[in-house]
Symmetry: C2
Subunit: 109 residues, 2 copies
DNA sequence: ATCGGTTATCGTAGATATACGATCAATGCA
DNA sequence: TGCATTGATCGTATATCTACGATAACCGAT
């Protein structure tokens, strides 16, 4: 793509886009749902729930971690992942705030 | 990616992911914001607002259109784009519903 | 120290996404 | 009819994403 131009946009637009991007794959939606419903927390259990290899699941978990949606702490030989509720709440607010500003003007063509 | 496995996930998870994907680029967030604030509707004006070429903007508009977030109707030689409020409202509800189900269980590690 | 189990990372292949110039199709106007 | 304007599409280059096997790193227990 030659050179990305994402940096040419305002920070708040980049923020919304970054949140959306982290949630733009069904596997990551499934992981977040699974973690939230507390059916699983250990990485191995999550791998068992998804139709993906361990390596791929680990990669998706990394994306969610970098977006600060989840966090993982080592528990002996395993890793326990869980939702970062503080961050997720903020994300929800940011999304909602943006969607709200849209509807405020609602009077298009 | 060899073969995509997105189809192996439940429809509602695919739906959330698809919404997120359509909003996963700052240019598209900017386009939606711009359209909602009614500062522009004609494609040419949108191109002038963004730091992208006409071809690229047209491509982003196409993505938003396919996600049913916006619609465009020909107005003489121009094309007038506008927010599909019905669909956007539904999207907002779907997103909010998903986020709500997450917090219901909120009691992780 | 070695072994078995767990997870992250590396390397890689193929699929998509991003970006743009060039071109095409459609429209309005001279 | 011919021309300028507008916007979609094509072709293409590069970047990023998705997926997995293989391997490395780590831990607990023997």
């Amino acid at each position: 793509m030659a050179i990305t131009k994402k940096d040419h946009f305002p920070a708040h637009q980049q923020r919304i886009a970054a949140i959306a991007k982290a949630l733009s794959h069904p596997a990551r939606i499934a992981l977040v749902s699974e973690l939230a419903s507390q059916n699983a927390c250990v990485c191995g259990d999550l791998v068992a729930e998804l139709p993906l290899s361990q390596a791929t699941v680990s990669q998706h978990l990394k994306v969610l971690k970098e977006a600060d949606i989840i966090s993982g702490e080592t528990d002996g030989p395993r890793v326990c992942y869980c939702i970062n509720w503080t961050s997720l709440t903020q994300i929800r607010q940011d999304l909602d705030a943006w969607l709200e500003t849209l509807t405020e003007h609602q009077e298009c063509c």
